[in-house]
């Protein structure tokens, strides 16, 4: 019997976990991602362990990426996106528009000489994976000369490939909410107002705070539970990551004063309890959704909020304000829904075609991860396991040998 083929769209944590599981069961996997590297959003998150592990799950992403690199024989199409789908009695043909990767990841031996050679810092390393070229590249060609194995070529070309598959798993992921669309947050005008996603990148680089700071504020529910911004759903991750980040900051800078503006603290799952008791004494919790964030004469952000105990408006100046931005549906969710003939729910996420959370349908199209609903990293890993089980079941692949 010829082995079954499955195309996984999206190489974030969900997509990679599905690909790893399926490949282990002997299914040929094609992995398609729009980025030139696997890992998606969460691969550039930083570990938030303070005294002990707070189970943010970032290491799970790196582990999954390393497994993909070392063990899984998935065929990867990076810088690619699906453009067409035709189906006929059970098997599907999917068209993929693919740009050639500038660094051939299979030939690359990770010596790192290209990074030293590049004058523009255009070559970046992905944790657990290899290198990729970002948009700063000017095609000067210095890296090509530096590479000892000839893995780099700077010719950009596009081609369209058609592959025949038996099933498709959509793991298209999410888009972090962009607070610039609402001017009350003051984001984009003041460089001292950051988003949680930007903080994650700083944590990844182990810089923590970009400037010297005395007072830091976290503002919750930015782009979540807000009818005005069109995002009515709760993003499920922001309370946890803001608290984890403040715990880590508090360890880095013990004198730091951290205020956290919240509507309701969403405690979710048992891992939350573990650090909630430790952290809530260390920071000031303020039950208020700020009215606006303005800039004062010195360029510092001023948070104007309604103080509930005093029933009055108050203003507080901070050195850094972090907006805990939520999870919004992927930017191309509508295109994907059109292409794969799926529905979107009121929040704009893909509706999984089956009844259960691990969706399945007779058409052989499955959804996994944050394209369905906001999820944490370990949720994604578990969901991926459930989805891959469903895929195997529908393809008739025996899970046991």
């Amino acid at each position: 019997m010829a082995s079954k083929k499955v195309c996984v769209v999206g190489a974030g944590i969900s997509g990679i976990s599905v690909a790893n599981d399926l490949a282990q069961a002997g299914i040929d996997v094609f992995l398609v991602d729009k980025n030139p590297y696997p890992g998606g959003q969460s691969v550039f998150y930083g570990c938030k362990a303070a005294d002990e592990c707070v189970r943010c799950g970032v290491c799970l992403v790196r582990e999954a990426v390393a497994t993909l690199k070392n063990k899984t024989g998935a065929e990867c199409y990076f810088s690619s996106r699906p453009v067409g789908l035709r189906s006929s009695n059970g098997s599907m043909e999917i068209d993929i528009q693919s740009s050639a990767n500038l660094i051939d990841w299979q030939a690359c031996v990770e010596c790192g000489r290209c990074v030293d050679a590049c004058p523009e810092q255009a070559i970046e390393k992905v944790p657990g994976w290899k290198y990729f070229v970002n948009e700063k590249c000017t095609a000067c060609g210095k890296c090509v000369d530096a590479c000892p194995v000839g893995a780099i070529s700077l010719k950009r070309s596009k081609e369209q490939i058609t592959i025949q598959v038996d099933g498709i798993v959509l793991a298209a992921g999410y888009e972090p909410f962009d607070p610039a669309i609402n001017r009350k947050w003051g984001f984009g005008t003041n460089p001292r107002v950051l988003t949680g996603s930007q903080m994650e990148k700083l944590f990844f680089e182990e810089k923590y705070l970009p400037v010297k700071a005395q007072n830091v504020a976290f503002v919750q529910c930015v782009g979540s539970r807000s009818t005005m911004e069109g995002e009515k759903h709760c993003s499920r991750v922001c309370c946890a990551y803001a608290l984890r980040m403040s715990g880590r900051l508090k360890q880095e800078y013990p004198d730091l004063n951290i205020d956290l503006y919240y509507m309701d603290i969403q405690r979710f799952g048992k891992n939350f309890d573990q650090f909630w008791d430790q952290i809530k004494g260390k920071i000031n919790l303020i039950a208020s959704n700020p009215i606006s964030i303005k800039t004062d004469d010195r360029g510092l952000p001023v948070v104007r909020y309604e103080s509930l105990p005093e029933l009055a408006c108050r203003e507080q100046t901070y050195d850094i304000v972090v907006l805990s931005n939520g999870i919004s549906p992927a930017r191309d969710a509508e295109n994907l829904a059109d292409l794969f003939n799926l529905d979107l729910n009121t929040a704009g996420f893909l509706v999984s075609p089956g009844n259960g959370s691990a969706g399945t349908n007779p058409g052989g199209i499955f959804t996994a991860g944050t394209c369905k609903r906001p999820m944490r990293i370990d949720d994604c890993v578990e969901d991926a396991a459930a989805v891959s089980r469903q895929v195997m079941h529908s393809l008739g692949v025996q899970v046991y040998p």
Binding site: D21, Q24, A25, D51, E52, C53, R55, L60, K69, N70, Q106, A107, C108, V109, E110, C111, P148, V149, G150, R225, K232, H233, C234, R236, C239, M263, D264, I265, Q266, R267, F268, G269, K270, N271, D273, A287, L308, P309, L311, G356, S357, A358, R373, D378, V381, E382, D383, A385, A386, S388, R389, Q390, H393, Q398, V399, Y400, P401
Partner: protein
């Protein structure tokens, strides 16, 4: 095992490392003089055309000495596959470029390396036959608990043609109408029970007394009610969580309310739910509360108040449920401080609004509902202890790796499923059961079982009870023994990483080697320890 194969060393020249080519040529000279190696092949420009050259040496034992970059790019693994080599027949030394910087005299390195290669070659020739087949566990599974999660897992497994025994303590009726299966997924539990009873692969039976669980080579043996020992390849722990009774006289807990609704009683009058009273109510419980309130409102003209400190919406669909409840006329009140006066069932509730500070009062409600803390029953705790599972907060089971991946515990063949891992709703249970099946696959193949080679042990006399080890252990495998004032190792959770041993200021922790008899483990150590 074909022991007539000759040993070939393959030396990859170090094109990628700084001092590589010079050192490689010297090394090549020394290795060619070595007696234990029959043939030496040098791959020039190893990274490019190596695989062609390797075809010439198919059918022989191979010793690779090469640059680590190649190892990371999976070259050796691919080469071994092409040559059809088993795990014991291929060895890779990691000749890291940093080694060359460490030693001043290059001769020392060569001595070291040549000596190591020679000894490896000898070891290889002697002990290739040690290669052990992976342990295959027996293909039947024991599931503790016949709630929604147990039934789901049993049916998933019976679809894979594994025989499943589903057991439940006798005082618990088999498949009780548990909370998750009650209102949230109506009729599901009965349907699943029927399916399970109809399946030839599933056996459901209650038991009164359980013998000790013994680990044998291919799984576990247990005896129930003094009967014959039964042998299982894997155990799934899926007990029910039980809600504590309401703390006030005359008040109901959620379970009682649910059973009343399910029995068809109509509940009328003024009904007050109080959330967040002691600690914070989990969002899954909030969902149960809202579902119950909705069900009451649909069936009778009741006036429903829900008092809470915080609105919790972090579950999918919970926001919609809140909106629906508000539309149906259920009254939500946020409170700051709450005082409950109870005169044998006659309640008076005094509260304070957090925003305005204004006081409010609810007089003589017809029914007060206080959701209690839910936890594992005494029987379930006993089973967890005998399986070597660790309890977290006395309510959830928490083996170290539970959060990382599907339901795995450190104990080979023991998996945890369902609400024992934390609050879980019906869709969560379905997801969980599916991922348990995937994890079991690895276990039954013998893939997921990684033998732990080292184990930390604490010298009680030296231990100063500073608890440094508790803080540094990445697996949460250290606990404090309050009585003896020493640190203690949870052997099932310890991974033998040695962080505690290196951090312990009193040097009280040592690593015990568990598998000294295993030649392969020794070779592994020899290979990957620094020269």
């Amino acid at each position: 095992m074909n022991s007539t194969r000759s040993i070939v060393a393959v030396l990859c020249d170090h094109q990628c490392s700084p001092n590589g080519p010079v050192q490689a040529s010297q090394l090549q000279k020394r290795l060619s003089e070595s007696t234990s190696i029959d043939k030496l092949i040098v791959l020039q420009k190893a990274c490019q055309d190596q695989e062609k050259k390797l075809k010439n040496i198919a059918g022989q034992k191979v010793l690779f000495a090469g640059c680590p970059y190649l190892e990371e790019s999976g070259f050796y693994t691919r080469a071994a596959e092409n040559l059809g080599l088993g795990p014991g027949e291929m060895l890779v030394t990691d000749v890291k470029s940093s080694i060359f910087d460490l030693y001043e005299s290059s001769e020392t390195i060569e001595d070291n390396l040549v000596g190591r290669l020679e000894s490896l070659g000898r070891l290889l020739a002697d002990s290739v036959a040690v290669k052990e087949p992976p342990v295959k566990l027996k293909r039947n599974v024991l599931i503790f608990g016949s709630g929604l999660s147990g039934l789901k897992a049993a049916l998933e497994l019976s679809g894979e043609k594994l025989s499943v025994d589903l057991v439940e303590t006798e005082d618990q009726p088999v498949a009780p109408g548990c909370l998750a299966g009650g209102l949230n997924a109506p009729g599901q539990i009965e349907e699943l029970t029927e399916q399970a009873r109809g399946s030839e692969h599933v056996a459901i039976f209650p038991y009164r007394q359980m013998g000790p669980i013994q680990t044998v080579e291919k799984g576990f043996t247990v005896s129930f009610d003094g009967a014959q020992q039964r042998e299982y390849g894997a155990v799934i722990y899926a007990p029910e969580r039980i809600e504590a009774p309401a703390e006030e006289v005359g008040a109901w807990n959620l379970t009682r309310l649910y059973s009343r609704i399910m029995e068809g009683h109509s509940i009328k009058g003024r009904i007050v739910f109080i959330l967040d009273r002691e600690g914070e109510t989990a969002p899954e419980v909030v969902r149960d509360v809202l579902t119950a309130a909705k069900a009451i409102k649909e069936r009778s003209h009741a006036e429903i108040w829900i008092l809470l400190k915080q609105v919790r919406v972090a579950l999918p669909g919970l926001q919609e449920l809140y909106d629906l409840a508000r539309e149906m006329g259920i009254i939500f009140v946020k409170y700051q401080a709450l005082h409950l006066k109870n005169d044998f069932g006659d309640f008076q509730i005094d509260g304070q609004d957090p925003q305005t500070g204004a006081a409010f009062q609810i007089n003589k409600p017809d029914r007060v509902i206080l959701p209690g803390r839910s936890g594992l029953s005494q029987a379930a705790v006993q089973v967890a202890n005998s399986l070597g599972l660790r309890l977290y907060n006395d309510t959830y089971t928490q083996p170290y790796s539970l959060w990382r991946l599907a339901n795995e515990s450190n104990h080979p063949g023991v998996l945890v499923c369902g609400s024992a891992r934390g609050n879980m709703d019906a869709s969560g249970v379905a997801e969980d059961a599916a991922s348990v099946v995937l994890a079991l696959k690895q276990r039954l193949r013998g893939e997921g079982i990684i033998p732990v080679e080292h184990l930390a042990s604490v010298d009680k006399d030296k231990c100063a009870y500073c608890l440094t080890c508790l803080r540094v252990c990445p697996y949460g495998a250290m606990v404090k023994n309050v009585e003896d004032r020493v640190a203690q190792v949870i052997t099932t959770a310890c991974q033998g990483c040695g962080v505690c041993a290196s951090e312990c200021p009193a040097e009280a922790i040592t690593l015990r080697n568990l598998s000294q008899e295993s030649v392969l483990a020794g070779m592994h150590k020899l290979l990957f320890s620094s020269i």
